[in-house]
Symmetry: C2
């Protein structure tokens, strides 16, 4: 009986990632509930978006924690990061495109997560296994871009879901690693 808020948010993220202009009615239908019920659980469109950001960031942060980014070398940390974050790629794709929508008005929690990822790349550069002619900031942006592109490619069948993680990790690590070793 009780609506699964998390399920609604997940469906909403999927729809809004594909179609940023989706109406509340479309979102409700995508989640399998009526527009009235959607409004009962989320005060309005703004509240829905905010909840979406909160849940996405929370899950992403949880993935970052689980990845133990400080342990081992940076390459392994990145692999663990992608493996842990894989279930929330859809949310991340939404967050990335949404951050573009609200120019300047970004969620305060985003900076913190951004810094943690940035730190991994910087550590990799300091350890000498990542090339230094690509800034850690760019590598972070590239990670988001690849996740977004990957989530989209999976969505309409151009990439198999089981290959997604390997595809992103190998491309990003191959591009970031110094070509000398190995």
């Amino acid at each position: 009986m009780a609506v699964d808020r998390e399920h609604v948010l997940k469906e909403a993220a999927g729809l809004l990632t594909r179609k940023a202009t989706a109406s509340m009615d479309e979102i409700a239908k995508a989640a399998g509930i009526s527009r009235a019920t959607l409004h009962r659980h989320f005060a309005g469109r703004d509240a829905l978006i905010r909840a979406l950001e909160d849940l996405g960031l929370a899950q992403f942060e949880q993935a970052l924690d689980a990845a133990r980014l400080d342990e081992g070398d940076a390459v392994g940390a990145l692999r663990r990061l992608l493996a842990e974050a894989e279930p929330v790629f859809a949310f991340m794709a939404f967050l990335c495109t949404e951050n573009q929508l609200f120019e300047g008005d970004l969620h305060e929690g985003w900076d913190r997560l951004d810094a943690r990822i940035n730190a991994v790349f910087r550590r990799g550069q300091e350890e000498g296994c990542f090339r230094i002619d690509l800034s850690s900031v760019w590598l972070t942006e590239a990670l988001y871009g690849l996740i977004g592109a990957g989530a989209w490619a999976v969505h309409d069948g151009r990439v198999a879901r089981k290959d997604l993680n390997h595809s992103i990790a190998e491309l990003l690590l191959g591009g970031a690693r110094r070509s000398m070793e190995k």
Copy 2:
């Protein structure tokens, strides 16, 4: 006196990439003209979007032609592709996000350009300089994703425009190339 259609489209692309829900009034203001004049040159929002797609695809195709993708090795072809396409990255970023907006209803010309890029990656794989565990389809998607992420990163100053091309090329080529050689 006569409005520069191309300038209007360029401004519109820039604005719509950042804010997909921008109103016709906002687009007009961004282009420095009135809403009335905008409607005189483009029958409506749909027509504007269509014109945007047409111009973006035409410029992108022109870049592909100039890059002589069939000459030399695949790595060089990709470098030339990125160099030639660099001025139209903003348009491409728009096209990528816009293709997501109209699910299924994609521009017919896109397939052709997509196939040309895909062919470069496939050729690189057949020539043995690109790894084969990453599908050419994924590499193509990754190219779009990196261009989109790069254009966005440049837009709000996280990456210098002069570094953009190098950043994308090195990351993509580094990730795509077989790590054995060089």
